[in-house]
């Protein structure tokens, strides 16, 4: 068992380990988001992935996301684990768990966490395809950075 609430690991992440960090009598709802390695992206087949991270800063930024969530949803509790190293198709890359008294907040806070991970946590993904490999940049899908990088207020 991991004793941390926010951690980067090279090992398999158990969903239960993350969820049990947020179970408590005050909570009636737990939302989890699990990111897995997808085989096809825009028709291109991924063989495997490699994740790299600036580990101490990444754990600090995951904890910051937890603090931000407490600021926005005071009754929410959050735990996040992200795996690094080599991952195969369908392997779990990230698990977010958020518990709240009522369900709507658990969805909103969980969604907030994954979006923030994609904005501020120093983790990088390298896709390995049949015909090559590439470090993947910003995958926010929802936001463009006109300056090519996050603005100060996003960090």
């Amino acid at each position: 068992m991991e004793s941390k609430q926010f951690w980067i690991t090279e090992k398999f992440i158990s969903i239960d380990d993350v969820v049990k960090n947020v179970v408590r009598p005050e909570a009636g709802a737990i939302n989890t988001f699990i990111g897995t390695v997808r085989e096809f992206t825009k028709g291109k087949r991924t063989l495997y992935l490699k994740y790299d991270a600036y580990v101490p800063m990444a754990e600090k930024k995951l904890a910051q996301i937890g603090d931000e969530i407490r600021g926005k949803w005071p009754e929410a509790r959050c735990s996040i684990a992200h795996r690094i190293g080599e991952l195969s198709i369908s392997d779990i890359a990230v698990v977010i768990a958020v518990s709240t008294p009522h369900r709507a907040d658990s969805y909103d806070a969980s969604r907030y966490a994954i979006e923030r991970i994609k904005e501020i946590v120093p983790i990088w993904k390298k896709e390995h395809w049949e015909d090559g490999e590439q470090w993947i940049g910003d995958q926010l899908e929802s936001k463009a950075y006109p300056s090519g990088h996050p603005e100060q207020e996003d960090l």
């Binding site: 600036y54 994609k118 946590v121 990088w124 940049g137 995958q139 996050p150």
Partner: protein, 77 residues
């Protein structure tokens, strides 16, 4: 000296995880110039920068013992 950490594509391009740069009293932008010149890391313009694990900007003046990290666009999750 300041310690400069390189990750992902920067680490591969430079062939090293970290370099020491004599940049005390200089802004972060000075370190960037040094890396561009010595390691050909032209993509550094797409990176954000962290000093001692906190995001900051290129104007930040560096002190002895600081750790600078150039952060390529992130893609966790």
């Amino acid at each position: 000296m300041v310690k400069v950490l390189l990750f992902a594509q920067f680490q591969e391009a430079a062939g090293t995880e970290s370099v020491d740069v004599d940049a005390v009293g200089q802004p972060v932008s000075h370190v960037k110039s040094v890396l561009k010149e010595n390691y050909g890391l032209l993509d550094l313009d797409n990176a954000t920068v962290a000093v001692n694990q906190e995001y900051t900007d290129m104007d930040t003046e560096l002190k002895e013992g600081d750790t600078v990290a150039f952060i390529p666009p992130v893609s966790g999750g």
